[in-house]
């Protein structure tokens, strides 16, 4: 077990997060946290919409974006009093009315902005993937060293939903038996581009298309599932095999629109298959964890457990079973993991960010797990673009 990445799990499993579909029982106390958003694109404004529903926990006090039309649009979203706007994030960091900062900028900027936020003493919610390079990830780990009063949470929000906590617990309790494969997809049938009002802004807005700024589909989408597997099994891949290309949209993009990863996790004896593409949407989001006793099949907000067929028929020596009526969702013998669909993962993630700030505790998605996932993503991309098998280097010191 990697020591520091595994802290604080027990409290969450037994605490309020898992009971039903409700958020934890901790009542907001005192003033809401004054929070700023650096990067008001899709993700930044998406988070703002969530925060508008949490006025007792957060008050948005400052916004920053280099594109003025985005800043103006974001300003209109703020429902909790007045808000200051900045073009230069460094000026925002001089603002005394800021306790915590959300960084939702393009991936290549994560590190410089995050490092400045940390040095400014603010709590930080840093969008995934944590950093663009391996060295940057290790640097943030070093930078956070000794800053026990400061909370850094990495935005792998899906794993904050009670559903994903429950699945982690199921894996640990052995409900799935010995897990040897995971299948993950995140597919779409579309070019994954954002509209550009002015051709000069193409690279600023569609930064995901350019390797200088982005880790492409692996960093922006598959990182969530890679992160969950790392976290749930407390491990990381050792070997990275990958293939891909620009196969659907030959529109000047540099990041691949068709990727497939095979990751080898020797410690748990696990193979991870991760794929994403822009040319078929049938599977959409797919996440299957396959063990000797059963399969977990997950969407972002709901999941099913399918016991292996041979165990379904092994009722033992009885011909029938009487019991309180069991609700099933389909004919294939699947059982819903939670009775109802969960909310957007971002709600749970920010609820926990609030609590961790109030209690000065290490979040579950922290700088250590964030670094582990960022390194995994980077090595996967290295394998993808270099057409070589890459390996985790034992010199990466995270924990």
């Amino acid at each position: 077990m990697e020591r520091r990445t595994f802290l604080k799990n027990t409290g969450l499993l037994s605490g309020g997060l898992l009971i039903g579909n409700k958020l934890s029982a901790l009542q907001p106390a005192g003033e809401p946290i004054k929070i700023a958003v650096i990067g008001c694109g899709d993700r930044g404004t998406g988070i703002m919409n969530i925060l508008n529903g949490m006025p007792e926990q957060f008050r948005i006090t400052a916004l920053c974006d280099v594109l003025d039309f985005r800043l103006t649009a974001a300003q209109k979203l703020v429902k909790t009093g007045t808000v200051k706007t900045y073009i230069d994030y460094k000026k925002l960091l001089d603002d005394k009315e800021v306790d915590a900062v959300i960084v939702a900028v393009p991936l290549y900027l994560h590190y410089p902005v995050a490092a400045d936020v940390i040095r400014s003493g603010r709590h930080l919610y840093l969008e995934k993937t944590m950093t663009y390079t391996i060295d940057q990830a290790l640097d943030l780990v070093t930078l956070m060293h000794g800053r026990n009063e400061q909370v850094l949470q990495v935005g792998h929000q899906y794993r904050y939903s009670p559903l994903y906590y429950r699945v982690k617990e199921m894996i640990h309790k052995g409900y799935l038996g010995k897990v040897t494969q995971v299948d993950c997809r995140w597919d779409r049938n579309g070019n994954w581009r954002r509209p550009v009002p002015n051709p000069a802004l193409e690279r600023a807005i569609n930064w995901r298309m350019y390797r200088e700024y982005s880790g492409g589909l692996v960093a922006e989408l598959l990182s969530h599932q890679i992160d969950f597997i790392n976290w749930a099994f407390d491990t990381h891949p050792q070997e990275f095999f990958a293939t891909g290309g620009i196969d659907v949209f030959k529109d000047g993009r540099e990041t691949y629109d068709n990727v497939q990863l095979m990751l080898r996790y020797p410690d748990p004896g696990l193979i991870g298959n991760f794929g994403a593409m822009c040319g078929n949407a049938h599977d959409g989001y797919l996440f299957k964890i396959k063990g000797t006793l059963g399969t977990v099949s997950l969407l972002t907000d709901q999941g099913m457990f399918y016991p292996e067929k041979k165990f379904l028929s092994e009722k033992g020596t009885v011909d029938g079973v009487t019991g309180a009526t069991r609700i099933v969702w389909n004919k294939e013998g699947g059982t819903p993991i939670l009775p109802e669909a969960t909310k957007d993962g971002t709600c749970y993630a920010f609820n926990d960010f609030y609590q961790k700030i109030k209690r000065r505790e290490l979040p579950d998605s922290n700088v250590f797990t964030g670094a582990r996932t960022a390194i995994s993503v980077h090595l996967a991309n290295q394998a993808l673009y270099s057409q070589k098998v890459c390996s985790w280097d034992s010199s990466y010191k995270i924990g």
Binding site: Y175, T317, G320, T322, R326, K331
Partner: protein, 355 residues
């Protein structure tokens, strides 16, 4: 879903009669023909399907596939058109929306009249008019988002009560416009009875039918083996089911279970049961965890099981002491928090075990 077929075990295969020793061989053959001659080639048929938001399974022994899944599925679909709260055009939903009531079909009529009898017999602890309470406490088709307050419960109780509906022929009247029915506590059992009737009409006399944990049993397995029924463990965790609490051999009749271990939710730090006490308007809160009832038919067993949950342990045992046609196995929480179980005198097929 398919009908599975398995050859019946080959108990009719006889050793070849020995020379000069015909007579005993013939005697054995004749005896076997007497024992099994009525149905010389019974085979096992299995139907597995999906209905009422849960699964059902039928196992029967017959010379041929006399009843198909198409028949059972269509029976259950017709059943839903009468009394499913999930189908907006079902008779029950139309009744609930009506001002004065509606004309009902046979299924509905049988269910209501039986529910009214049982309501009377249990002193109102089960009540078909409980729906407004079920909805208010968040267990209905459309989830309420708040816990009802004292006033709200008081107001809701004005629409609850067996005396607020009246069956005249095939017309079911409301005496108060807000009255709404929820027959979920009894309907599942009756649907199992209807499946049993279907099998009987096709001259099937050895079967076990299970729908949502409610069972009807008749006859035997090959070799005169009784059907064995497991009483589910109460972990309520379908992802990691607890071992069976008991295995019983009830013989002909019905077995149903009502329990609060699977369906409940949390409010204000405590567990809220999906079972309502129609007299108080509040969810049932007592020592009971689950009740497994034996009766001749499943409409009776299912009709009473919620009532025993509401009565609690002592009242249920006293009630059952007078009934030779019904028995119950009950799991409850003792005052010290430990889980215990007990069984009434006439619970069939139960082997008393020492712990």
């Amino acid at each position: 879903m398919e009908v599975l077929q398995q050859p019946y075990p080959e108990f009719l295969t006889l050793p070849a009669p020995m020379k000069n020793n015909w007579l005993p061989g013939i005697v054995v053959l004749v005896l076997l023909c007497c024992a099994f001659g009525k149905q010389p080639s019974l085979r096992l048929f299995e139907i597995k399907g999906y209905a009422q938001g849960t699964t059902y399974s039928i196992v029967y022994y017959a010379p041929d596939s006399l009843v198909s899944q198409q028949q059972t599925d269509s029976l259950l679909q017709r059943f839903d058109k009468s009394v499913s709260l999930y189908l907006p055009q079902s008779l029950i939903c139309r009744f609930n929306r009506s001002q004065k009531g509606i004309r009902v079909d046979d299924v509905f009529r049988v269910l209501v009249s039986r529910a009214l009898q049982i309501s009377h017999a249990t002193g109102g602890l089960v009540d078909p008019t409980v729906k407004p309470l079920v909805d208010a406490w968040g267990f209905g088709v459309f989830k309420s988002d708040h816990e009802p307050g004292k006033e709200e419960v008081k107001n809701l109780l004005r629409q609850v009560g067996a005396n607020k509906i009246r069956l005249e022929g095939d017309f079911l009247y409301k005496t108060v416009p807000g009255v709404q029915l929820d027959l979920n506590g009894i309907a599942q059992g009756y649907s199992v009875d209807l499946l049993a009737d279907l099998l009987e009409r096709h001259h099937i006399h050895d079967y076990l039918i299970e729908l949502g944990g409610e069972l009807r049993i008749k006859g035997h397995k090959p070799g005169n083996e009784p059907f064995r029924v497991g009483i589910e463990g109460i972990s309520g965790d379908d992802l990691d089911p607890a071992p069976m609490r008991q295995v019983i051999e009830p013989g002909d009749g019905a077995i149903t279970t009502s329990g609060n271990y699977r369906k409940h939710h949390e409010a204000g730090g405590k567990q809220v049961s999906h079972l309502m006490d129609p007299l108080t308007g509040y969810p049932v809160q007592n020592e009971m965890i689950s009740v497994t009832v034996y009766a001749r038919d499943a409409i009776t067993a299912d009709g009473y099981d919620n009532g025993f949950m509401a009565m609690g342990l002592q009242r249920s045992l006293a009630f059952l002491a007078k009934r030779k046609d019904m028995g119950a196995y009950m799991v409850y929480r003792r005052p010290d928090g430990r889980i215990a179980d007990t069984v009434s005198t006439f619970f069939k097929g139960y082997q008393h075990k020492t712990e």
